[in-house]
Symmetry: C2
Subunit: 419 residues, 2 copies
């Protein structure tokens, strides 16, 4: 069947989006998070099962060009995804549970790094690999637990709001850790002391500058844009521009991960006035969730053959899963306790933080692309992300099982449903 390169790309993207949506819906049907289904779609369409890219509707000579485009669209998806996450950060509201969030976030990010590194080192990997796996384990996917709490009708409780705030701090720390790791352990690993200092100065300068621009300039600029007759209809398009330029600037000017820049831009724009904010969120969500993000999730599976995972990797994978769960419950739980939660509340919050979901995957995929994580080590890490994502919803239901309707308390924050 002769067909041009671009229509083969159309077919591939069509299959990817359809697979992601069907698997996502199937996952929800059996009480699993949608993200898990979308990841599974990649595994099913990839070399592990159907090996879609080898079908004879795709010409062999066009595959490399196509995977290149898919790869770049996946990266655009991640950029917009992190921008969308930033847009939902309401710093002021989160301050109401500030102490829990700061302690829970810091310890919830630190403990997985501290506990994960020795495990990786014990399996004879070098220090760079160990640090990077630690950073992946530091991630938390708030969306998965938030969705479960929403279904249980307990999102607007003390634990629910605490979870949202803690996960934000955890996100920020994980991304910062990633940025530091990428800046110092990137392609030129033999940086001199002077270069290291310059890397850090540059990073701090960029982050300071970007935060200041995002916080003070972006909301005002976009509120103004929205009042201009001819420019108003382009408000959402300009928001994409902000995400793209901040993302570029993060890497090209600051030497940090592009997603950090997009996240910072989103955080700034979360303060724009409500109509502007809603218009931006709607467009970004349409582009991300219906189009680019499925490409990201499925694309990971297209490059992973779970059947090829070495038997010798299984003990490492199992150990990492155990460490991932325990370190998060212990770290975030202890932090919440220090922040003033009761033992039971702290334990619940810790359990909600277990799933690594899309944030862990973003970090792992970046590591793979930058050579900080080799393919051999990527597969157990991918399994850790899958398993922690799947185990969290039932665990959350279990720890909240005694919480009946009458026990529900009023929410601390007033508007936290948009996760």
């Amino acid at each position: 069947m002769e067909s041009s390169v671009v229509v083969q790309l159309f077919l591939a993207i069509g299959l990817i989006i359809a697979g992601a949506q069907l698997a996502g819906a199937g996952a929800r049907r059996v009480g699993q998070p949608r993200v898990f289904g979308e990841l599974l779609a990649g595994v099913i369409l990839g070399p592990t099962l159907l090996n879609m890219l080898e079908w004879n509707v795709f010409d062999e000579e066009t595959i490399s060009g196509m995977t290149h485009t898919l790869e770049e669209m996946a990266e655009l998806g991640v950029l917009f995804l992190m921008f969308a996450v930033g847009l939902e950060v309401h710093l002021r509201e989160l301050l109401s549970v500030g102490k829990v969030a700061v302690w829970g976030g810091v310890l919830g990010a630190a403990l997985p790094v501290v506990m994960g590194m020795p495990v990786v080192l014990a399996f004879d990997y070098n220090i760079e690999a160990a640090v990077f796996v630690g950073v992946v384990l530091a991630a938390t996917s708030v969306s998965i637990s938030a969705q479960t709490l929403l279904e249980l009708g307990v999102l607007r409780t003390k634990e629910g709001v605490g979870l949202l705030a803690t996960a934000v701090i955890d996100d920020i720390l994980a991304i910062l850790l990633l940025s530091v790791v990428m800046a110092t352990m990137g392609s030129d690993t033999d940086a001199s002391a002077g270069e290291l200092v310059w890397i850090f100065v540059r990073m701090v300068l960029y982050l300071g500058g970007a935060l200041a621009v995002a916080w003070f300039v972006l909301p005002r600029l976009f509120n103004w844009l929205h009042r201009q007759r001819q420019l108003a209809s382009g408000t959402a398009a300009f928001a994409l521009v902000a995400a793209l330029i901040f993302g570029w600037g993060a890497e090209a000017l600051g030497g940090v991960a592009a997603i950090t820049g997009a996240f910072v831009a989103g955080m700034g724009l979360s303060q724009a006035n409500e109509r502007v904010h809603d218009q931006i969120v709607e467009t970004v969500q349409a582009i991300s969730y219906s189009f680019l993000v499925p490409i990201f999730f499925v694309n990971v599976g297209l490059h992973t053959d779970l059947l090829q995972i070495g038997l010798d990797m299984v003990p490492l994978a199992i150990l990492l899963i155990v460490v991932a769960a325990i370190s998060k419950v212990a770290g975030s739980g202890l932090g919440a306790r220090l922040g003033g939660f009761t033992n039971r509340e702290s334990f619940r919050l810790g359990v909600c933080m277990i799933s690594r979901g899309e944030v862990g995957l973003i970090i792992a995929a970046l590591g793979l692309a930058n050579g900080l994580l080799n393919e051999e080590l990527f597969e157990p890490v991918f399994l850790v992300i899958l398993v922690t994502t799947v185990m969290t919803p039932p665990l959350v239901r279990w720890v909240f099982r005694e919480r009946s309707e009458k026990e529900q308390q009023p929410a601390l924050a007033t508007d936290t449903t948009q996760v």
Copy 2:
């Protein structure tokens, strides 16, 4: 400045979207259509003026990969754009001005081909080139005139509704013409008679099958999808899948242009129930107008150096512009007259049809990509598209100048504002 390939792509897309939005808003401000501004943004960012892709923020060795990705995203943009056009076709409503639309559409598409071909042949081009330029001239961009009529408050008049219906027929014919030309004059030009018959049989079979599926299956399928708890949120994503798969099928199965398939899919889904339709339109518009379509418009300019246009091409360009305008006014005008409009109404409708806009550009760009239009001939054709797009709004204002508020008649159709 070292930076990875993908963040250079982020920067390029950011600049493209920003340029398109700013130029589009600027164009509207001086009473010109937005499309003209977006095309101009490409000319400004391209080799004619700023030559963006040669800036030293982009590495020389990454440019080819980047232009490849931009090219494919532009094609995705066109696909979704034609899908969006199909979604706005309300066949039943258009039947109320059926005779005007059919006569106006047929003559409005035929006359430019008939009058354009001899001009191109007179300049020593071969018959293939002449036919292809004719097909480009057969196109009409309804959005530009519709926008002008909307501003003048006369869109819901006899002429306005007649224009919308005529432009739809014209669109369908132009795309069909394009499909026939591409199927018969594509890469293997030396097709035998038997092969030609097979090409046509295959095309008719595909179009019949695709229309039947789009018309009878898609609306029911999507209404059903929208009622399923877990699938409902994916309705818009599945609509993208339909556009992509129909687009792929058009070329791979039917040998016709991919945009024809997307257009047919959109036409079918225009009958889904209102909530489903609105959800799809919103998502497709967000992805198209804020993200992919600007990439398409600007990308054309990035590959066009208007300063390099040969002096010997100027007479051809001028002649083609004159022919483009006269043939459309005469063809559509005569058709409308045959359909029952008065002389004045027919003339007004004809003038509204002059602009080639995005539809002409889509066809021209496809011809360039398929080698049916060489670069030398592309530049005068691009100028024709630019000039007819720019001259239409003032002409429309001029022919409607005597139409005062009190003269306005009630609309024939009830819902034609969403163009």
